[in-house]
C-alpha cells in the first residue's frame, strides 16, 4: 500500500484511512454531478484507463515485455461486444455472456501475438507489437468488404448498454430516494471492477506466477536455469494482459454506445504506456496513480489552457489537444531521464534501474 503514513501496527489508523477513502469514492459521483455530469463521464474513462494500464502493467511491468500495440486488445474486446450487442448483426446478448467472450477472444489474440515473438529481445518486441496493433487497426478499417464485419471507418453505433433484467445502466433511475444517472451507475460498476482487478494484480504480483515473471524480467537465462518455463510464463503474461484489455474494451463499447477504429490508434497505446511508465512500471498503485493523473490532466488542460491563453495573448495560440500531447511526450522523456522508476517505483525496479545506471 501507499507508504505515505506508517500504518503498520496501528490497525485503527489503517481502518480509519480505508473508511475515509471508501466514503470519498462513494460520494465522488454526487459531488462531480454537482460540478457537471460530464465530469462523471471523464471519471469513468479514467477508471477504464486504470484498467487498461493495469492490464498493460502485467505485460510491461511484471514480465518486462514492452508492448506498444496494447490498444489492439482493447479494440478486440470493444468490437466483440459491439458485434454481439448491437443492431449491426441484430444480436443482443447480455453483457455477462459477452464480456467473457471478449476476454477470451482478446486472450487468443494475445497468444497469437506472443507465440511468434517469444524469442525476441525487448526492443524488437516493441516494434513487432507496434506493427501488430497497426495491423489490427487496418483490418478493422477495411473489413467492411466484401462482407460487412466491422463496418469500416464508420464504426458500429447503437451498442447496447449493460442491462440486468429491467435495470438499465444507461438510464436515470432513483434508488432509496437518491437519483442515479447513467454515468453514475457505470461509475459504481467500474469502481467495483477496478477494485477486483487491483486485488487480482496485487495477489498476482506475490504469487508463484508473479515471482516467475519478475525472474524473467530480471534475467531470462537465469530464470530458465531455475526451472521456470519461460515460454509458458511469457505467453501467460501476454494472455492475461490481453484479457484485461478485452474486458475493458467491452465496457468501453457499452458505455460509449459507439465505436470506430479511430478510438484505437497508436497514440492510445502510447498513452496507456505513458501511464504505466509515469506511475512506475510494476507497481500496481503507481500505475493507478499514473492513469488517473494522465487521464484527468488533458481535461483540466482543456478547462484552463484556452482561457489562460486568451488572457495572456488575447487569442488561443495552442490547442489544448496539442499541449496534452506535448506534455505526454515530455513526461515520457523527463521520467526516463530523471526518475526512470516512476512516481511510485516498485522496489525491485528502483534498485535495478539505479544500480545499472551507476554501473553502466
Amino acid at each position: 500500500m501507499l507508504q505515505l503514513v506508517d500504518v503498520k501496527g496501528r490497525p485503527a489508523l489503517a481502518f480509519a484511512g480505508l473508511v475515509i477513502v471508501a466514503v470519498a469514492l462513494a460520494v465522488l459521483p454526487f459531488v462531480l454531478t454537482g460540478i457537471g455530469t460530464f465530469w462523471v463521464r471523464i471519471t469513468n474513462l479514467a477508471i477504464l484507463y486504470c484498467l487498461l494500464a493495469l492490464g498493460l502493467n502485467i505485460v510491461v511491468g511484471f514480465a518486462g515485455l514492452l508492448d506498444l500495440g496494447y490498444i489492439a486488445f482493447y479494440a478486440v474486446g470493444a468490437y466483440v461486444y459491439a458485434m454481439l450487442a448491437s443492431p449491426h448483426f441484430g444480436l443482443h446478448l447480455p453483457f455477462w455472456i459477452i464480456l467473457p467472450i471478449g476476454a477470451a477472444v482478446a486472450c487468443v489474440f494475445g497468444v497469437l501475438l506472443g507465440a511468434p515473438t517469444l524469442k525476441l529481445r525487448g526492443d524488437y518486441l516493441a516494434i513487432v507489437t507496434l506493427g501488430f496493433g497497426e495491423i489490427i487497426r487496418i483490418f478493422l478499417n477495411n473489413l467492411s468488404q466484401p462482407i460487412n464485419i466491422t463496418s469500416g471507418p464508420q464504426g458500429i453505433a447503437r451498442i447496447d448498454p449493460f442491462r440486468i433484467g429491467t435495470f438499465d445502466f444507461s438510464r436515470t433511475s432513483s434508488i432509496l430516494g437518491l437519483t442515479f444517472t447513467g454515468p453514475m451507475k457505470y461509475y459504481y460498476l467500474l469502481l467495483v471492477v477496478l477494485l477486483v482487478v487491483i486485488a487480482i494484480n496485487l495477489r498476482l504480483q506475490d504469487s508463484r506466477i508473479g515471482r516467475a515473471w519478475e525472474a524473467i524480467r530480471e534475467d531470462e537465462v537465469a530464470a530458465r536455469a531455475m526451472g521456470i518455463n519461460t515460454r509458458n510464463m511469457k505467453l501467460l503474461a501476454f494472455a492475461m494482459g490481453a484479457s484485461f484489455g478485452g474486458i475493458s474494451g467491452g465496457m468501453f463499447s457499452a458505455i460509449q454506445g459507439f465505436i470506430s477504429p479511430e478510438s484505437f490508434i497508436l497514440v492510445e497505446s502510447i498513452m496507456v504506456l505513458s501511464m504505466v511508465v509515469l506511475g512506475g512500471m510494476g507497481n500496481v498503485w503507481g500505475v493507478v496513480i499514473g492513469a488517473v493523473l494522465l487521464s484527468f490532466a488533458p481535461e483540466l488542460l482543456r478547462e484552463w489552457v484556452g482561457p489562460v491563453q486568451q488572457a495572456v495573448f488575447g487569442r488561443t495560440l495552442l490547442d489544448p489537444e496539442v499541449i496534452r500531447m506535448l506534455l505526454f511526450g515530455l513526461a515520457l522523456v523527463l521520467m526516463m531521464l530523471f526518475r526512470p522508476a516512476g512516481i511510485l517505483p516498485s522496489a525491485l525496479r528502483k534498485r535495478e534501474l539505479e544500480t545499472r545506471r551507476t554501473a553502466g
Partner: protein, 334 residues
C-alpha cells in the same frame, strides 16, 4: 506484364526511399544497439522544411530552374535535420547510454510525439501539398503506349539514392571517420582507449543518418506530392522493417532490405486484390456465383491493405531469421 513492370518500377522507387531511411536506423543501431524510434520524425521534418523553402522560393518568383529550387529545399532541410538529429542524441540518448534498453526506447517515443506536435504547430495539422514545380514526364519502357512508364522524378529519386548510398559506403569504408565508426561499433571502450572520441563519433553517426533522412523526406514529398506531420511514423516503421529485413546494423543489408520491401509492397498492393478475388471460386458456391454475376470484384483484401505487408514481412523475418538476410547471427545480449 506491363502492370508487373510498372509495379516493379514503383516498388524500386519507393524501395530506394526506404533504403535511405533504413540506413539511418541501421547506422545508429550498428554503433550503439539502439532503435532510434524518432528517426521517422526527422524524415518528416526534412520534408516539411523543404516544403517551406520551396513554397517561399516559388512564391518569390526566384529565377531558378525547378530542379534547383528542390535542391535548395533539400540543402536547407539537411542542416535542419542534422541539428534535430544532434539534439535527439544529446538530450535523449546520451544521458541514457548504459541504462536498461527500455529507457532510451521510451524517451525516443516521447521525443517523436514532441517532434510531431511541434511540427503540427509550425505547419498546421492539414496535409500540405507539395508544389508540383517539376513536371513529371513519363518515359515508356515498352512499345505499348498504355504500358509501363518511369517518370523523370522516379529516375531522379533512384539516381540520388544510389549516389547517397555510394557516398555513405565510401565514408564508412574509406575514411578515417569511417574507421572510427566501425571501431566504436565493435567495442566502444577499446575504441576510446585507442584515442577515438566516442561521443563525437556517435553524435556524427546520428547527424549523418539525419542528413540522409532529410533527403529522403524531400524525395517522399516530391514523389507523393504531399507532406503531413504524421507522415514520419509509418514511413519510419517501414524503413525500420526494411533495416531488419536486411539485417540491422548492416549497411548493405539496409539497402537490400529497403529495395526488397518496396518491391514486395508494390507487388502486394498490385496483386492482392486479384489473388483474393473470391469470384475465382464461383464454381464452388452458387451464392457466390450469383453475387459475382452482378459484381465481378468480390475481393477479400484490396490494395487498401498495402501498409500491412511491411509489418507482415517484419514479423516473418523476426520469427524465421531474426538476424536478417545479410546480418550475422549475434549472441542474445538481452
Amino acid at each position: 506484364m506491363d502492370i508487373f513492370l510498372q509495379q516493379i518500377v514503383n516498388g524500386l522507387t519507393l524501395g530506394c526511399v526506404y533504403a535511405v531511411v533504413a540506413l539511418g536506423y541501421t547506422m545508429v543501431y550498428g554503433i550503439i544497439q539502439l532503435i532510434n524510434f524518432a528517426h521517422g520524425e526527422v524524415v518528416m521534418i526534412g520534408a516539411m522544411t523543404a516544403y517551406s523553402v520551396i513554397v517561399a522560393l516559388t512564391g518569390a518568383q526566384v529565377p531558378l530552374p525547378p530542379v534547383a529550387i528542390v535542391l535548395v529545399g533539400a540543402l536547407v532541410a539537411m542542416p535542419v535535420c542534422m541539428g534535430v538529429g544532434y539534439a535527439l542524441e544529446r538530450t535523449a540518448y546520451r544521458p541514457l547510454r548504459g541504462a536498461p534498453r527500455l529507457a532510451p526506447l521510451i524517451t525516443a517515443i516521447g521525443l517523436s510525439i514532441i517532434l510531431q506536435h511541434l511540427a503540427m504547430i509550425v505547419w498546421t495539422r492539414n496535409p500540405l501539398s507539395y508544389p508540383q514545380i517539376i513536371r513529371q514526364v513519363p518515359i515508356h519502357l515498352t512499345g505499348n503506349p498504355d504500358g509501363a512508364t518511369i517518370t523523370n522524378v522516379q529516375i531522379a529519386i533512384i539516381v540520388a539514392s544510389v549516389m547517397m548510398m555510394g557516398a555513405l559506403l565510401a565514408l564508412v569504408y574509406r575514411t578515417k571517420l569511417g574507421i572510427a565508426m566501425r571501431a566504436v561499433a565493435q567495442n566502444p571502450s577499446i575504441a576510446g582507449l585507442m584515442g577515438i572520441d566516442i561521443n563525437r563519433v556517435i553524435a556524427l553517426t546520428f547527424v549523418i543518418g539525419a542528413a540522409l533522412g532529410a533527403v529522403a523526406g524531400v524525395m517522399v514529398g516530391s514523389y507523393y506530392g504531399i507532406a503531413h506531420y504524421q507522415m514520419g511514423a509509418l514511413l519510419g516503421l517501414k524503413a525500420f522493417s526494411a533495416a531488419v529485413l536486411g539485417g540491422i546494423g548492416n549497411l548493405a543489408g539496409a539497402m537490400l532490405g529497403g529495395l526488397l520491401l518496396g518491391v514486395i509492397e508494390a507487388l502486394g498492393a498490385g496483386y492482392v486484390g486479384e489473388l483474393t478475388n473470391l469470384c475465382r471460386l464461383s464454381g464452388w458456391f452458387d451464392a457466390l456465383a450469383q453475387r459475382c454475376a452482378s459484381d465481378p470484384n468480390v475481393t477479400l483484401f484490396g490494395s487498401n491493405y498495402q501498409d500491412v505487408f511491411a509489418f507482415i514481412v517484419l514479423i516473418l523475418v523476426l520469427v524465421f531469421r531474426p538476424s536478417g538476410l545479410l546480418g550475422e547471427r549475434v549472441a542474445d545480449r538481452a
